[in-house]
Each structure stands twice: as C-alpha cells, then as structure tokens.
C-alpha cells in the first residue's frame, strides 16, 4: 500500500537500486581504500558495541548542485531522516550539536571517517542531492564506520524532500532492524479549524471536516468539503480511501472518500436507513462494520460490502451496540455494548455467531476499542478514570491492563500505528482537543495538531 501512496505523492523511485556491494570502482585514488576490504564478507547490518543500539551519525545531506532549492532539500532530508529514525528508538544518535563540529563532507570521497569513529559512531549516513530536470536525484549511503564499507545504499529520484527521508527511514529500519517503519503512514482526523458555520440551524455550530496528515503532523490537508459535521474517519487498509460519518444528508450516514481520485461513495443510503455511524474496515478492505438504528431501537452493528451491497445484521438486542473494530485476522470484531448499564467492550465473531465475550471487566465506562496489529495482540480503549477519560491497553492473551495517560485533560479515541509500536489519540491536555502520538510504553508524547479542535484520529496501515 505504501508503494501506492508513494507513487501518488509523486515520488518516482526510478533508477533505484540496492547497492549492498562495495562502491563502484570509479573511486578516485585520493580515497584510501578500506583497510579491511574483503568483498566476500560485507557486513550489511550495522551493530552497536556490546549489544547496545547502533549509534548513528546523520549529518545534513550534501548539495551537489548549489541552488537554494537543492541546499534546502539537502538540509530537510537530513533533519527529517534523523527524526524518522529517532521515532522508532532502534538507534542512538550522535547529537546534532556534536555533528556540527565535524567538517562537512563535500562528496562521498572526503567523508571524515576518522572523526566519526572518534565520536564512537557505528553507522554514518551520507547523502547527496543533485537537481535534475524536474526534481532531485538523491543518493543515500549507510556506512559501517569501522570498516568504511557501505551497508546499505540507494538512489532515489523525486521532488518531495520529506518523502525522500521517510522512504529512507523505512528502508533503513527494514534492512537494519527487520522493522516495519511507519514514516510513510498517515493520520486522519476530524477538525473544526475552518470555523465555518453550519447552515440549516439557528444555533451557533461549526462544521467539522476530515483532514489527513503525515505521521509526524506535517502536510495537514483537508479532504472533505461537506460544510457539515464529518467525524470518525477511518483509513481503508490500502490507504486510498477514508470512510467516515457525515451529516450531509441530515441524519448521519457512512461515506467513503476515495481521496486520490476525488470521488465520494455512500456506503449507507436510501430511505428509512436510520442513523449510521462509526465505520470500521475489515482487514481485507472488502467490508465495513458500522453502527445503525435502521431497524428501530438502539444502535446495532451491521456489516456491509464496501459497495453498499450484502447488508448483514450482526447484533440483535435492545441495548446499544456500537464503535466496532476488527481483529487483524478479520475473524472477530470488538465493539461496545451497554447491556450492563454502562458502555463496556465485548468481542464477537465477525459472522455474528455466538455470544459476545466481555473484555473490559475493571472499568466503570469503556469505549472505542482499537485492536493492535501483530506482533502484538492488544486492544486499546478509552476508559473513564475520573472527571475525564484515559487511554488504556488490555493484552488479550493475559487480560493484563496497562494505562498510557494519567488524567492530563481528557484522553480519547486511541488508534494504533501499523507496526503496533505507537498510538495516536485525542487529548485536551493542552487546552483544546488535539491529536497526540505516544509510544506503546507511554513515552515520547508528541502533539500533532495545534489549530482548532481535532478529534478521532485514525492511523493508516
């Protein structure tokens, strides 16, 4: 999926090739040959000393062409790559102020390996940026500082500096740490930042629109122009569509926005279909589970094909059943029922067969389950913990509960990153409702949005 996104954001990795081989022979003689040159035993993984995380140096990239755009791009790539790599905490880093004391290389031929070695760097990333016809050619090499050999390298073409860095980061995590990075994933959320007033009401009400952003909060862009209440967006597994709840027809309905085609589908429509909300994609992207009052009474769960066909009712009782999320296998659905008098989290089989199994047993109020991707098997949720709510996580095999937020503002609507190592959620800790990301251990809190009120984040696969 990320490949598609990549293409769509117009990076074309044209002449890219992996060069986990010794550098080509056209090295000028000025370059002292690596002392331990044994081409048959190239280390392609940078290791830290004594089992410590590898220590990396990530200086700014080298602008081969000297125009301002090239220079800016070179600097941005280095800085964003640093942040991307730092996000997963798989490496330690030579601090930026220390990096500034090392003479900058002007090409791959004058890299001061001795200085980096003195600073105890295990790995060094060197990159060049060269302006081409309508973009840049970027060459990135990850060196083993001890052997001065390249562990990983690749050439990229494109025009988006941040996307160059995100792509490099994901590839470095994949090749060096066997980790699926999330630097190219995206967030979606609802926001009232446009301050547009709802029409058709005498009350002072502001519209909410669906937004997307890079995982680090950059490139925030509006994707709906409903001029109405649009909430609870969810990425399709392929990252090409967003399903959400929209009041554009009056009562809430589930819409699907195909964001790269600019087309809109109505997953629920027609007369007498009640209110429909909180769409959740099946892992294969073929079906959507949602809450609906279409048969009268309280919200119940239904499953529908993404084209609106094959509607099937999943729950059938007088209580509220709402806020579904699929298990990664697609075999089960976690949802919220208030059959005991308060909202609590339950799991049912995705075919609706069998009795729901209660998952939250120690909460006075629990909502918005989000099932983690593998390798974890956890459900995060919102729990009422005081005057406000906090984010908690329950490990499904052991049912052990841990808490990620502790009463700073109210905290709601958790969603997992594709690798299960991070969550995004809404918090009022800084005043208005804003989107934050946090590592799965509760560290590295980061505020993603700052304008208006923002709510109900969902993190792309």
């Amino acid at each position: 999926m990320m490949k598609k996104l990549e293409a769509l954001v117009a990076i074309a990795v044209l002449g890219a090739w992996v060069r986990a081989q010794p550098p080509p022979q056209q090295q000028p003689p000025a370059q002292p040959p690596p002392t331990t040159q044994q081409p048959t035993e190239i280390e392609t993984t940078i290791r830290g000393e004594g089992g410590a995380p590898p220590r990396l140096a990530v200086p700014d990239f080298i602008a081969i062409t000297k125009d301002k755009e090239s220079v800016d791009t070179a600097r941005t790539i280095g800085q964003v790559l640093w942040d991307d790599l730092n996000f997963e905490r798989e490496f330690s880093f030579i601090p930026r102020d220390v990096i500034a004391t090392v003479p900058a290389a002007t090409s791959f031929n004058d890299v001061p390996f001795d200085r980096w070695r003195e600073l105890n760097a295990d790995g060094l990333i060197v990159g060049t940026v060269e302006k081409t016809g309508n973009g840049f050619k970027v060459d990135m090499r990850l060196y083993n500082v001890r052997t001065r050999q390249m562990a990983y390298g690749r050439e990229y073409t494109g025009s988006n500096a941040r996307l160059f860095a995100h792509t490099m980061s994901d590839e470095i995590h994949q090749t060096q740490r066997a980790l699926r990075g999330v630097a190219r994933t995206k967030l979606t959320f609802a926001s009232d930042r446009d301050g547009e007033r709802m029409t058709g009401t005498v009350e002072k009400r502001e519209t909410k629109e669906i937004y997307i952003a890079d995982y680090d909060g950059e490139n925030q862009r509006r994707v709906t122009v409903g001029r109405t209440l649009n909430i609870t967006p969810r990425w399709s597994p392929d990252g090409r569509s967003i399903a959400y709840t929209s009041y554009r027809r009056g009562p809430p309905q589930v819409f699907i926005s195909n964001i790269f085609q600019g087309t809109l589908e109505e997953a629920t429509k027609g007369e007498r279909v009640g209110q429909n909300w909180l769409p959740a994609w099946s892992p294969d992207g073929q079906r959507i589970c949602f809450g609906s009052t279409r048969d009268g009474g309280s919200s119940q769960l239904y499953v529908i094909n993404r084209d609106g066909s094959a509607l099937r009712r999943l729950t059938n009782d007088k209580w509220v059943s709402t806020t579904p999320t699929w298990s990664p296998s697609g075999n089960q659905i976690a949802f919220v029922s208030d059959r005991t008098g308060s909202p609590q989290i339950y799991v049912i089989n995705a075919d609706g067969v069998g009795a729901p199994q209660r998952i939250s047993t120690s909460e006075s109020y629990a909502d918005k389950p989000a099932w983690s991707p593998p390798p974890f098997n956890e459900i995060s949720y919102t729990a009422r913990t005081g005057p406000g709510n906090d984010i908690k996580v329950i490990d499904m095999p052991t049912r052990v509960v841990r808490q990620l937020t502790f009463g700073e503002g109210t905290n709601e609507s958790p969603t997992w990153a594709a690798n299960g190592r991070h969550l995004a959620f809404m918090s009022t800790r800084s005043g208005k409702s804003q989107i934050f990301t946090i590592a799965r251990d509760g560290k590295n809190l980061k505020q993603i949005t700052k304008t208006g009120n923002n709510q109900q984040p969902d993190w792309s696969r």
């Binding site: 209440l229 809450g291 009052t293 009474g297 919200s299 509220v320 806020t323 005057p387 709510q455």
Partner: protein, 189 residues
C-alpha cells in the same frame, strides 16, 4: 409500538419507585462534588418531591398568532418547544422532562402541520463515540413519550449529535446539565 408501550410502562414504573437503571460511575476523589445545582435534571433521580414546584410553566406567554406567523428560523430561535434534560449517562425522562414534553405535545397537537426533528445531545464527559448512541436514545425517549401522548410518529424525526454541538461550551456541571438534552427543531410548518 407494543415494545414502545411496554418500555414506557417500565419507565414510568421505574420513575414511580424512584429507581434508577444506570449505576452512577464509581466514586472518585478528584471530581468536585456535584455542586448544588439549580438544575434538577443533573441530580441522580430524585425521590418524588411532595413540594409542588413553582415551575409549572404556563405554555409560554407567546401570542399564538406570533407562533403561527413566525418564520421557521424565528420559531426555532425562540422555540415554544421545550428541551428535555437528562442525568449523566442516562436516557431516562425525569418528571421535569415529562412536563416539558407534555407542553410540547400540546403545542404539536395544536400546530398539527409542524414536522419536528428531535436532536439528542450529550455532555463532554462521555466519549465521542458512545455519545452518538446515547444521544440517539435520548431523542428516541423523548419521541416515544410524545407518541404516547398522541403526536403522530411520522412528524417526529430523531438525530443524534453526541457531544459534537454543546449548547454551553463550559466545562462544569452547569454547562454539562444544559448539554445533556433532547432539543426540538421545527423543520416544517
């Protein structure tokens, strides 16, 4: 409809014995004590008070010709249809709520061409997701009561806005009590 009648019967029985379905949230030390509020709807179900409340509102001293001739917007800006307020996490009608609905039912019978949307709203303490369903239950509770009083069901639509459109943007019980409501909007007359 039978189910609705049954529901209503159960609800009035519950109200009569002063019972309450929803267990209040576990006591927590941090929240300020539910300060003496002027809004009875905010309290946990009060035992039937023998004291006659002076709030038996005469159906709004608005001139009826004014109601009949007002534009929809003017009508909704100064609506003769009373909102109904609810307790935290609850969709049960209080006795005050029923009084408001009695008033509304009388008006809706008098102005028999009005079509009305009943909006369900919640305060910000509940979660955004569950509040969609809770708001709907509040709107449905108000609608069912009106229907039981003889207002034709097809004139009454419901929509839930959860906690998306609070009437009072404050963060205290005074605001919360105004935001837990079924709100009436005349959509056609």
């Amino acid at each position: 409809m039978k189910r609705m009648a049954k529901l209503l019967a159960v609800m009035s029985l519950l109200a009569a014995i002063g019972c309450h379905k929803n267990v209040p949230p576990v006591a927590r030390p941090t929240p300020p004590p539910p300060a003496p509020t002027t809004n009875p709807a905010a309290r946990p179900p009060s035992p039937p008070e023998p004291v006659a409340e002076p709030t038996i509102v005469p159906p709004e001293p608005v001139r009826e010709d004014a109601i009949a001739s007002a534009s929809l917007d003017d009508l909704n800006r100064n609506s003769p249809l009373k909102p109904v307020f609810f307790a935290l996490d609850s969709d049960e009608l209080t006795s005050d709520g029923q009084k408001s609905l009695d008033n509304n039912a009388a008006l809706l019978k008098r102005y028999s061409t009005w079509a009305v949307t009943i909006e369900g709203h919640c305060d910000e303490r509940g979660t955004a997701e569950y509040n969609l369903a809770l708001g709907e239950r509040r709107a449905v509770a108000a609608r069912a009561y009106l229907v039981s009083l003889g207002v034709p069901a097809d004139r009454l639509r419901t929509v839930s806005y959860g906690k998306e459109f609070p009437f009072d943007p404050g963060h205290d019980e005074s605001a919360y009590s105004k935001n837990r409501r079924a709100h009436f909007v005349v959509t056609a007359k």
